[in-house]
Symmetry: C2
Subunit: 192 residues, 2 copies
């Protein structure tokens, strides 16, 4: 791997970084390609060499953000021993990690609108949905959760968590205690 592939990777990373910053600050629709490539220090030619267009660059940004949030969730969950506490810690960390500036907007507002809901759901399942399903299955195995179909439950819980994260991220005075309290109340109700 020579100097060529190295430079290519750095250009791609510059584009993704610029996209993340601008999409987070202004939203997808309000960011023009000219601003994007100017921030990245390249031109439109570079963008269209690496991506099929604006939407595909956004998808790369979304995948990065999702993977970071998922990693934080996984770390928080692994810090607990009991499967049920792993589930709780993961959900709580999701709220905290999603509150980083612009993260929620990219992941939860523009994501579905730009990529379409079904595509977005596939990416979200791949990143964090998998973790949630796994945690629920572990809870069932540990007899902390009544047996039953976990996928629908995971999706619905994911919706609740997403709304909670948006509420925290967009609020002027976020109240993690109250929002987490509502989530925890739902989880407690589900527990055995």
């Amino acid at each position: 791997m020579g100097v060529r592939a190295d430079q290519k990777e750095r250009t791609r990373e510059a584009l993704v970084t610029a996209g993340r910053q601008l999409f987070a600050e202004h939203g997808y629709a309000a960011v023009g390609l000219s601003a994007l490539v100017a921030t990245a220090g390249v031109t439109k030619g570079a963008l269209y060499h690496h991506f099929d267009g604006k939407a595909e660059l956004f998808e790369a940004v979304l995948a990065l953000v999702q993977s970071e949030v998922a990693a934080a969730v996984e770390v928080a969950a692994d810090a607990e021993d009991d499967p049920w506490e792993q589930l709780r810690a993961g959900c709580r960390e999701f709220l905290v990690a999603s509150t980083a500036p612009g993260t929620a907007r990219i992941m939860l507002v523009d994501g579905p609108a730009v990529l379409g809901w079904s595509r977005w759901r596939a990416l979200d399942d791949d990143a964090s949905g998998r973790l949630l399903v796994g945690a629920l299955r572990a809870a069932v195995a540990a007899d902390r959760l009544a047996p039953g179909p976990v996928e629908p439950l995971a999706h619905v819980l994911s919706g609740a968590l997403n709304e909670a994260a948006l509420r925290l991220a967009e609020s002027d005075s976020p109240d993690l205690g109250a929002t987490w309290g509502a989530i925890d109340r739902i989880l407690t109700g589900l527990a055995r």
Copy 2:
């Protein structure tokens, strides 16, 4: 009120109707003003006379859709006597009503992205959030739900319901039973 105001109202209605149809079918971003005004049988001058732009027309469409869904939910809830069953029936009807073609897309995908999350949340609270908070309060009063802050719980439940509705609306083979089962499981867990 003469022929003048009457024609004005019919023009506005034509624009909103056209917007609803096109936004539902293609999504907000993919609909051009030219297609909008052609479908409505008017010109851009008429559109900009009635609205400040494309986004404000969308807001009018969103308000209409939300009011229809909220009305259906209210009817379903009023058919029950017990406050807890009113809550359940309202939630279930929300899933059914939101599954109408394009409704979920307008309400839940494009809505937050076009208007911004906080504006969308304000409209959603005004339309259906109010109902949910009221139902929860009634459940507390009837001792079917433990006392506690209901607003955070309502928001989080709303998120769960929205995700469930999207899942049903966008699925090729929607499974109302499984999705409603997950919601009902959460509600049952909350109940006393």
